[in-house]
Symmetry: C2
Subunit: 262 residues, 2 copies
DNA sequence: AGATACTGCATACATCGTTCGCAGAACAGG
DNA sequence: CCTGTTCTGCGAACGATGTATGCAGTATCT
C-alpha cells in the first residue's frame, strides 16, 4: 500500500527524522514566498525565485513541497495565521462573525495576492480550519442546521473577498494609473452611452465621489445585511420573499408575490 | 499618441479592412477554446492547442488576440452569450434577479471551467454588460442608490459562483473519486476528531445525505435570503452596526435575530 | 500600378514547473 | 565504531508554455 493519501501536504509529516537535518522548514519557505508575493505579486512567486531568496538551489524546494500549488497552500495558511480571535466571544453571533470578517479583510488588504490565490481554491490548512471552527462557534446558538451554517460561512467568505477585491482595485486606482483600467472605464462609458444600455448609463453617471461611507462602514453594513438575511430560521425564506414581510403560517406556496401593489 | 487604449480587446476593432481576408474570427477562436475547455478543463486551453484545433499554425492566433488572457476573455464572453433573458420582466425585481441567477448557474454548470476563469477577473465583455444592464433594469424600481445596486449585483454574482462551485465539486464527488478529495475528507475528520475543533466535529458528523432539498431549491432559497437582506432601503442597516463599538455579553439581543414585527 | 497594411506561419527564445541522479550527512542497529 | 539505510541539497536537464520576430504573400486604397 502506498502512503495513505500523501496528496495533501497537511497529511504529510514535515519531517521524517531519518536523514540529515533539513536546512529550512515549511514556515520559512512560506515566509519567503509571501515576501515575494507581497513585493511583486503572485506571478513573482516562482520556484526558482523562492529558492534563491532562501539561498538554495533551484530544485531544493521539492524536498519540502511536492508542487508549486502546495507552496501556495503553505503561503495561504501562513497568512491565515495572522488572524486574531481576541475580539470574539461577544455573545452576539453577528458581532462575532463581523469581527471575523474584519480580520479576514485585514489579511486580504495586507496581502492582496491572497485574493488571487484563494480565488480558485478553498483553503483547508490548519489555520483555515481554526477560522472555520471559530465561525461555527460564533453560530453555536443560532437555530439553523449545521449545513446552513457552513453555507453561510462559505458565502460570508465569498462576500468578504468580493468586497475586499473591490477595495484593493479602488486603492490601486488611487495611486498608480493602471492603463487597463483606464481602458475599461473608457470602454464602459462608451458602451453605456451608445444607447442600448440605459440603466447602465444612469448607474455610471451617478454621483461617483459623493460623500461616501468609509470602507469599513460599507463593509460592515453589507455584511450585516447579507448575514441577517442568510441566517433566518430555517423555515423562513422559502415561503416569504420579502424579508420583512409577515410569514403566513400554512402558506406554502413559493410565489413571490407578496407586498406588491397591483 | 498611441492607439487609444488598445489594452482591451473590446476596444480593438475585430478587423481593420486592409489586408487579406482573415481565415478565422474571434468567435470561431473562442468556440475552439471553449470546446477544449469543456473537454479537458482550462489548462488544456493553450495557444498551440487552440491553433491546431483550428488547423492553424502555433503563432497564428496572435493575429486575433494579443495574449492568452484575451483568448480567455473571448471564451468567457461567448458563453455569457448563452444566457437567455426571456424569463425577465415579471415586474418583481426579486423574481427577475433569481431568473438571471439561474441562467448564470446554468452557464456555470455547462462550462465548469468558467468558475476558474472568472475567479480572478471580472468579465467586462459585451455580453457581460448586457447581463449587467438587465440586472440593473430589474432593480429599476427598487429605492436604493445605484451604488448599492451595483454592489448587490456583484455580491449576487459572487454568491452564485460560490454556490455553483460547491455544486460542481459535489457532482464530481458523485461520479469519479478524485483522490485529493478523499485525502481532504480524511484530513478534515482527522483534525476535527483530534479534539481541538468541537464545533467542526459536530458540524461534520451531522446528517450528510439526509433528505435535502434539490439543488435548485437550495439555490433559490439562499439567493432569496441574500438579496432580500442586501436590498433593504438604504437607511436600514447602516445604523445598526455603528451604534455599539463596545460589545457587552448578555446585552440586548440584536434586531437581526428577532423578527421585524413591530 | 504602386504603396500600404494586413495575413498566415515557421522558427526561435525565455521562462516556467518538474524530474533525475549523485555526493554526502544524519540516524539505527549491531 | 562501523555499516547500511534513508534522507538532504542541488546541478543539470527535459518538456511545455507564452510570446516575439521576420518573411512571403494578398487584399485594399490612392
Amino acid at each position: 500500500m502506498t502512503e495513505p493519501s500523501a496528496h495533501s501536504i497537511w497529511l504529510r509529516p514535515e519531517r521524517a527524522g531519518r536523514g540529515p537535518t533539513p536546512t529550512f522548514d515549511r514556515d520559512r519557505i512560506a515566509a519567503a514566498g509571501i515576501a515575494l508575493a507581497d513585493a511583486d505579486g503572485l506571478p513573482a512567486v516562482t520556484m526558482r525565485a523562492v529558492a534563491v531568496a532562501l539561498g538554495a538551489g533551484p530544485a531544493s524546494l521539492y524536498r519540502y513541497v511536492a508542487t508549486r500549488d502546495e507552496l501556495l497552500e503553505l503561503m495561504i495558511d501562513r497568512v491565515n495565521g495572522e488572524i486574531s480571535y481576541d475580539a470574539l466571544g461577544s455573545g452576539h453571533w453577528l458581532d462575532d462573525l463581523l469581527a471575523l470578517a474584519r480580520q479576514s479583510r485585514s489579511v486580504y488588504l495586507a496581502h492582496p495576492w491572497l485574493l488571487d490565490a484563494t480565488a480558485a481554491r478553498t483553503p483547508v490548512g490548519p489555520h483555515a480550519l481554526t477560522y472555520l471552527e471559530h465561525a461555527l462557534a460564533a453560530l453555536a446558538d443560532v437555530d439553523v442546521s449545521p449545513r446552513t451554517k457552513l453555507e453561510a460561512i462559505a458565502i460570508l467568505n465569498a462576500v468578504v473577498s468580493t468586497l475586499t477585491r473591490a477595495e484593493v482595485i479602488q486603492r490601486l486606482a488611487g495611486q498608480t494609473i493602471p492603463q487597463w483600467q483606464q481602458a475599461q472605464a473608457e470602454y464602459l462609458t462608451q458602451v453605456a452611452m451608445a444607447g442600448h444600455h440605459p440603466h447602465l448609463a444612469t448607474a455610471l453617471t451617478g454621483q461617483p465621489p459623493e460623500a461616501e461611507d468609509s470602507s469599513e462602514a460599507l463593509f460592515d453594513r453589507i455584511l450585516t445585511r447579507v448575514l441577517t438575511g442568510l441566517l433566518q430560521p430555517d423555515d423562513i425564506g422559502a415561503t416569504s420573499v420579502r424579508g420583512r414581510a409577515k410569514v403566513e403560517p400554512g402558506g406554502h406556496s413559493r410565489e413571490a408575490t407578496e407586498g406588491r401593489e397591483p
